[in-house]
């Protein structure tokens, strides 16, 4: 799991996390489960910079294996062992 564009500051500056997310249903872990887990286990401060309602805040792109999560089901996207999830905050500077 990788954060970029300022999101890394929310996790003590650590950019890459290898996580093992426990899930109830043995057969299925969805992006919504990962988000909930990240929010309660990784985010150290200002959760509003990462989460809004039950999804990521506006301006954050979520990538599952280098693909926009909108292309693979959004909150319902199923995750498998070794999947790489990247949260990218869009930049506006120049």
């Amino acid at each position: 799991m990788v954060g970029g564009g300022g999101l890394d500051l929310l996790c003590n500056g650590v950019k890459i996390h290898h996580v093992d997310v426990p899930h109830k249903d043995q057969n299925r872990l969805e992006m919504r489960d990962l988000l909930a887990w990240v929010q309660s286990n990784l985010i150290k401060e200002r959760p509003e910079m990462f989460i809004k309602e039950d999804s990521v805040r506006p301006g954050v792109l979520v990538l599952v294996n280098d693909c926009d999560w909108e292309l693979c089901g959004g909150l319902g996207a199923e995750l498998e062992e070794k999947d790489v999830v990247v949260f990218i905050s869009t930049l506006h500077g120049g």
Partner: protein, 287 residues
């Protein structure tokens, strides 16, 4: 050589010979470049390499729009501006530098901020737009304007040690609003003037923007439309990811969108993003 071949005269054939030798580019690529006009919005960190490379490569007409003044603390990254131009308009400084390296292209300077009231007028004169601005409301405004006028948009950003770029509204691809229908909270909108930027990071992003603009203008290769390049300078990692296509719900470019020129001109981009287009009040740095 003699007279013009395909619109390229003998001087151009000599000047651009290393382009003409390229099987994937050649006379056709160079001729297309010479016929194209490109508007670069912002003559700062991103705009510097974009303008220098677009000028040198032989774009027919290059437009520069910015209302900023060159300051000494720009020069660590804005390589187009000589010290002698500190205190002068960025567009004048940038145009002078472009003219020095290629006097054979047409340069047009717009010494004003691009905004809803003048954008349609200015952008309509060009084939391609490059977003090299430093703020969120301008990014929405430029994207909407490009959709309304049906122009491809090469969009780049840099902050801290990171950069991002993609191509919007090109060959059926998404626009900025397709990706970001709702603006981020103001707290998430840092600027180079507040948070700093390593000077060469916009250099890398700007060169890649110039490349995308050259590919669109010359009609060669595969652009970043539908993809986004993510650059992390600290670890020298680059990720090129697939992004969503045009959104059916997009209020600007979606199939049911009714975003007219009038609506564009009336839209309050600063209110929408809760953020300012201008960057006049800068913090002072104390050590």
């Amino acid at each position: 050589h003699g007279e013009a071949v395909n619109g390229l005269n003998a001087d151009m054939i000599y000047r651009y010979s290393r382009h003409l030798l390229l099987p994937d580019f050649g006379v056709e690529g160079q001729t297309n470049l010479a016929k194209s006009s490109i508007l670069v919005v912002g003559a700062g960190g991103l705009g510097s390499p974009i303008l220098l490379y677009l000028a040198s490569c032989g774009v027919g007409c290059l437009g520069i729009v910015d209302d900023d003044i060159v300051e000494l603390n720009n020069l660590h990254r804005q390589i187009i501006h000589p010290e002698a131009f500190v205190g002068h308009p960025k567009v004048k400084s940038a145009a002078a530098s472009c003219r020095e390296i290629n006097s054979s292209i047409k340069l047009v300077v717009h010494n004003e901020a691009l905004k809803g009231s003048n954008a349609l007028d200015i952008v309509s004169k060009y084939d391609i737009v490059v977003d090299a601005t430093d703020n969120l409301p301008s990014r929405y405004m430029i994207s909407d304007c490009c959709v309304v006028l049906d122009k491809p948009l090469i969009s780049g950003a840099a902050l801290g040690m990171e950069g991002q770029l993609t191509v919007y509204h090109y060959k059926g691809g998404p626009c900025y609003r397709c990706l970001f229908p709702i603006p981020p909270p103001t707290a998430a909108c840092q600027r180079c003037s507040d948070s700093g930027v390593l000077g060469v990071v916009p250099g890398v992003v700007g060169c890649l923007q110039a490349l995308e603009a050259i590919k669109v203008a010359s009609g060669i290769g595969e652009t970043l439309s539908g993809r986004m390049l993510l650059f992390d300078a600290l670890s020298s990692r680059i990720r090129i990811v697939n992004i969503r296509g045009r959104s059916l719900q997009c209020v600007t470019c979606g199939p049911n969108a009714i975003f007219t020129r009038q609506m564009f001109q009336a839209f309050d981009y600063e209110g929408f993003t809760q953020s300012s287009m201008s960057d006049k009040a800068r913090p002072e740095l104390h050590l």
